[in-house]
Symmetry: C2
Subunit: 464 residues, 2 copies
């Protein structure tokens, strides 16, 4: 029995399992190449990378190329590390232009130079051109496999032309009309071509008012335009209005997901990074502990230093605390409520700003509404807490705690609402107004407000 | 001058502004109907609904239908309220079937009955059928305007057929092959039809291993399948395997955005709801204060009652506090750090679970890694805090605070990591493990751990 590697074969159909164990290339190809590459990738991601590399070396380059694009960054990096240069260059040839660039990013520079030389000159130049765009821009996610038409063709000629080109293009559902200098003149959809009179000229049926983006535009902007206009693909032009690529809907779905993850992480005060120093795309399960520590520690340490101020606030009111220790019982409750109310408004605001539901100049309007809401919420919470106050600390403590509750909820809410706007003013990402940051700032305010009210009220009582 | 309503016309081109002020139907149509409905909707959303209704009554029903689908829920509800039944029913006829159902949801039941009777019987039945599916399911977001083919057609016949049907269908890029009982047999893309030999039979070129969803499947499942396989559209079948609709990529992009917003809000402990009792889709700027209070208060009150336990914890250690008041200075710092570390791990975990990067059975593996990470992070924070401890409270307090810091960070992190998994076990949404919930739970643990360590250590010192 030839059984050099142990596969977790129980998730495969029995005949697939046997083929895997025997590494029979013919059977492997027959079994696997009919499956959807997304399914294969999901099954393979349970294997060790050397095992996948072993299987890959027996599959066709097309199939490998299809599966690779569905694997995550870490798996992809390890598998490409195991494949030999010749196989890998054949796999790269089979990929679409944007996937190629992505893959080469995960390969060490020296090796990717070697690989580039194994590719055809045209492919090599295309990759060099696409890799020249900065990460996170339209240029970096676009593909150069799109269909173009000249404006003088007839609809029938255009369809014949697309039929010839279809196998090499990512989408033929939109065809871009360009002049001799590749300047973008218009767009026809395959649907329009099919509906048009066969003899109609492209220039007469094409749409001229196009939505397009520049190669240096941020990928978020690309996603926004495509979602806004429900586009399957968007053309990318350079400074001279020449068409340089298109971004397709599937790439943009990945962008939307990534950006949401980044905002999500920021809200939990997890630092962001770029390139290989980012959690997005690696997947939490496979992220190394050092990466996670690097992402989490900076904010936690910063928050420690912020919390020193709460300590200083308490120290300032030491006499009040010595006199009425029962006040300390309610400290976590009050600063907690202030922080929670703040975390809520910050969360609402960060998401609304990210979706464009609210813009910078709405601050005053939102502020007015928030004051009313926070007073209302604070009053309800004050009533709830006053009963506990009477029970645990007597009527004086109950009054102090109730009044302080309204004040701290108001403070926390307005802080959570304003911080994202302030960050926009400072040209920072509003999502940096994370729940932990708002909570820590609300803590400081909560301590001062609570003990301030207590000192004042108890002083007043003593004076009577 | 006829100028009954004041428009914020400065954002329009001058000739559009004039046409608006004079309500000249011909000019309005000419000017507006060439623009992309998404742009018109963006411009109109700055107007008052009565003004938009006034303009709508002068535009063609097609144009109104196109613009309406890009307006948000609130604007749509108010505008439809101002349009007369005849105009509105004509607008509804022009919409795609999924948009119709959406629109009718925003109209009071009585009126929507009247409107249904103004529609053609076929349209009426179609709407009734689509509205019978529960919100949030595949059935509720699918459209019934898809192209079907019979398996015995040739590729050429199929293209001719699609050409005839194109104007009425949402997409003709995928055509579904069905038998006499509407059972789904396969799928051909327009690309494949164009590439195929004109005389080839559909049944020979169609793809048979289809990805499809059931009408009662959750819309999140639909989004997951479509993103996984990069599909433009996915077929929806009923219990008897009959094709009942398709979901297109633009509808699924909205679903992805909505679900991300819901998770985001949950993480900030903002309650969710459904139908009209939800913040998603209304937009924060236009959400009424009562809706916001209803969404925010329940969790805040629940957290108040949780925080009572922290208070009880402190009361239990009253003697320790009386003896060393300096311990209170570090209370916000320690419970804050515990909460922040917990909020971080919960955020990472919730997002990873939502994206499927981590699944339920990975708990133990993640737990092992988290212990190492949390000890490391806790140690760094302990070193930072020990200096402040010596300075503000002397060496004893410094030792207590440092040891407690490692313990509370570990506690908070493991809590934040485990809670989402526990919620999955309880068949609840893991995103309910919001930052405020984790923070409040970590507070309780933090108080007990901190004062517990202090009491033990000070007792030990006293005994020496």
């Amino acid at each position: 029995m030839n059984q050099p590697l142990k596969f977790p074969i129980d998730q495969f159909a029995p005949e697939q399992g046997d083929a895997l164990e025997n590494f029979d290339a013919n059977v492997l190809r027959q079994l696997f190449e009919d499956e959807h590459p997304a399914d294969l990738a999901a099954q393979f991601s349970e294997f060790d990378p050397p095992q996948i590399a072993e299987i890959f070396s027996r599959l066709s380059p097309e199939c490998c190329a299809d599966v690779l694009r569905y694997l995550d960054y870490e798996n992809r990096r390890e598998i490409t590390g195991k494949l030999d240069n010749e196989m890998l260059s054949r796999v790269i040839s089979e990929m679409t232009s944007d996937d190629r660039v992505d893959l080469l990013h995960s390969i060490p520079d020296e090796r990717s130079e070697t690989l580039l030389h194994l590719l055809a000159k045209k492919e090599r130049e295309d990759i060099r051109r696409l890799s020249s765009y900065q990460e996170g821009t339209a240029g970096a996610i676009m593909t150069s496999e799109y269909a173009t038409l000249s404006p003088d063709l007839t609809a029938r000629q255009a369809i014949d032309r697309l039929r010839l080109e279809a196998p090499d293009k990512e989408t033929i559902y939109y065809a871009y009309v360009i002049d001799g200098k590749r300047r973008l003149l218009g767009l026809v959809s395959l649907r329009e071509l099919i509906l048009a009179h066969p003899a109609a000229r492209i220039k007469d049926i094409m749409r001229k008012d196009l939505v397009c983006v520049h190669a240096h535009d941020d990928q978020e902007e690309v996603a926004r335009q495509m979602t806004k206009y429900d586009l399957l693909a968007i053309p990318v032009i350079n400074g001279g209005d020449a068409l340089v690529g298109i971004v397709t809907f599937d790439d943009v779905q990945d962008v939307i997901e990534q950006e949401a993850t980044e905002d999500f992480h920021r809200l939990g005060s997890i630092s962001q990074g770029s390139g290989t120093d980012t959690l997005v795309g690696i997947g939490l399960r496979d992220a190394g502990p050092w990466l996670l520590i690097r992402k989490r520690l900076p904010w936690l340490l910063a928050l420690v230093f912020m919390n020193i101020f709460s300590g200083a606030g308490i120290a300032y009111y030491e006499d009040t605390i010595q006199a009425t220790v029962a006040l300390v019982f309610f400290l976590p409750l009050l600063i907690g409520s202030s922080g929670n109310a703040g975390a809520q408004s910050a969360t609402l605001m960060v998401r609304a700003l990210a979706l464009g539901e609210v813009i910078g100049k709405d601050w005053l309007r939102m502020m007015g509404k928030e004051i009313g809401i926070a007073l209302c919420i604070g009053a309800c919470m004050a009533i709830a807490v006053s009963f506990i106050g009477v029970f645990r600390g007597g009527p004086d403590v109950a009054v102090i705690v109730s009044v302080a509750m309204v004040a701290v909820v108001l403070f926390g809410s307005l802080l959570g609402l304003s911080l994202p706007f302030l960050l926009i003013r400072l040209k920072m990402d509003p999502a940096t107004a994370s729940a932990p940051l708002v909570t820590s700032m609300a803590d400081i305010g909560g301590v001062v407000i609570y003990f301030g009210i207590a000192t004042w009220y108890l002083g007043l009582q003593a004076a009577i």
